[in-house]
Amino acid sequence: MIRVNREGSVWIFAEQELGQLSDVPLELLSKGRELADKLGVRLGTFLLGQGIGELAGKLTAYGADDVICVEHPLLKDYQTTSYARVICDLIQKYEPQIVLYGATAMGRDLAPRIASEMKAGLTADCTDLQIGDHEEKDGTVHKNLLFQIRPAFGGNIIATIINYDRWPQMATVREGVMRMPEPNTSHKGKIVNEKVNISPEDLAVTILEKHRQAKKVNLKAARIIVAGGAGVGSKDNFKLVWDLANALGAAVGASRAAVDLGFCDRDHQVGQTGTTVRPALYIACGISGTVQHRAGMQESAKIVAINSDPNAPILQLAHYGIVGDMNVVIPKMIKALKERS
């Protein structure tokens, strides 16, 4: 771990693949800005790869004060141990107080490795990040800590996690949780190139073949989402959700429960461990509305909930509620849509 460095920057891991920056670091820059301003420190990003120099300009446009670029042919493709070693060295050298990563496949492979090597704390899938003070039982006060906020297991609960001595304070955040800022090309930042020595022997794992496919659905861009939960009952019955979505020209979403039950593909999952969405209209069918699911859709402009249980939490959150059997309600809704003039 590093010392508790109050002058340390807020850092964001600028995840990139094949020369393209992932959305999440850009989204994290907006929250990073807020945290850095609150702490009165700089907002930095660190970028590893080969031929990634031009990405630095994009990062400063999205708000980074500093961009640390580490270029090396052997860093072109992500590999756990080499990336972790380079980043741990950077952290030791620059002593940031906070480091944030996207909770992507790469981030979830990398961040815990770094946390372990640095013996530092790491909180996964945060739905909010704030700065606050923490008082221990003996009266000791730790000021200006990173509040790592997330729904907790066990019901309707939100936990605030802190780390006051095993720095840097680190967290991962899923896609869509933070809002993408507007780029501002007149915002300038300092770009630093760091040199590293890596040899092929440092790469314990080599990639033989890579195949990327576009996600089946772009939930973040959808204006209307129709989502189904465990209450849908079966994979066959989930067809109703698709029917309603088609009638509305909407994207299909699913709760974690529905995905785990095999009703729908993981790409469609909305919630704390899925995607966070803010559509103009979110129609929740047979979704009870756990705190983890709500974290992913509660900022929707309008929420319609269909549930046979009048006490389902989702009905408290909804603007429009229908207490009834979705097998009955959805066909009627589709009919009403077809008949509208």
């Binding site: 496949a105 815990p112 013996k119 609960i157 802190i162 408290q316």
Partner: protein, 296 residues
Amino acid sequence: MIKQVPDTKAVTAKAMKEDGTVNRAALPAIFNPEDLNALETALEIKDQYGGTVTAITMGPPNACEILRESLYRGADRVILISDRRAAASDTLATSYILGCAARNLPHVDVVLCGRQAIDGDTAQVGPQLAEKLGLPQVTYLEKLMEMTNKHVVAKRNLGNGWEMVRSKLPVLMTVVDSANIPRPPAAKLMMKYKKVRGAVEVVREIAGEKDPNDPALKAQIDQRIKELKQKCLLIEQWNLDDIKADLQWCGRDGSPTKVHRIQSVVLKGTGHKQFAPTQEGMKDLIHNLIEERTLG
């Protein structure tokens, strides 16, 4: 490495304690689903290449149940890490303890874990354990393509695509649920191992709420444990001293992340507008949505 977890599909709000940690005793406990996939991968390696499968879990006495379930499926050796001082460990402390346990084994070629546990959902213990053991890691393992005693070729499922990778051995791999369908317990193995018990279970069975050091009870407990051991039905049990764990890295003291507070979410219920589940009701709803320009 396996974990017994509360069944998150059967959760009620009574599950949390004041200090922010989960009250596991209040919920039905199951074998963490992706750990079952990891066990299946281990057994498939054994089926194809030979070797021994050891299942280790860190947990309270109840966790012995998943060790038995591992034996029923074909594990050769099972170990319970049990120590009150390990309680309230976060992922870093947990991976430290599991690392000490792994080092206590003679030789390990492959360490397998489920990608993540359904209670914490962090997916952090696997990679952290790999770091502690100084092993390369292959996460999101979906399929083992080939294996020699020097390397393994594996297919990873990244959600937005896949990757074929080659890693040196020894290696740690975390397994995803799409990797396989875990085999069910084998009837023959169930017959053989159903009487397997851990020492902590014997203490609980015989002493219950009473003091296990009471001479009469202690004699009974010791006798039972001796019998189980003679029949090779005693689950190996290690505490933090057995695995030479440094206490400063265990439990609450060894956990950098701490709970500042937990808050119950109280939904304000600003009064939603109700629509009847009838054709008229739907007509009204659509009309409403069009009026306010949510729908075009």
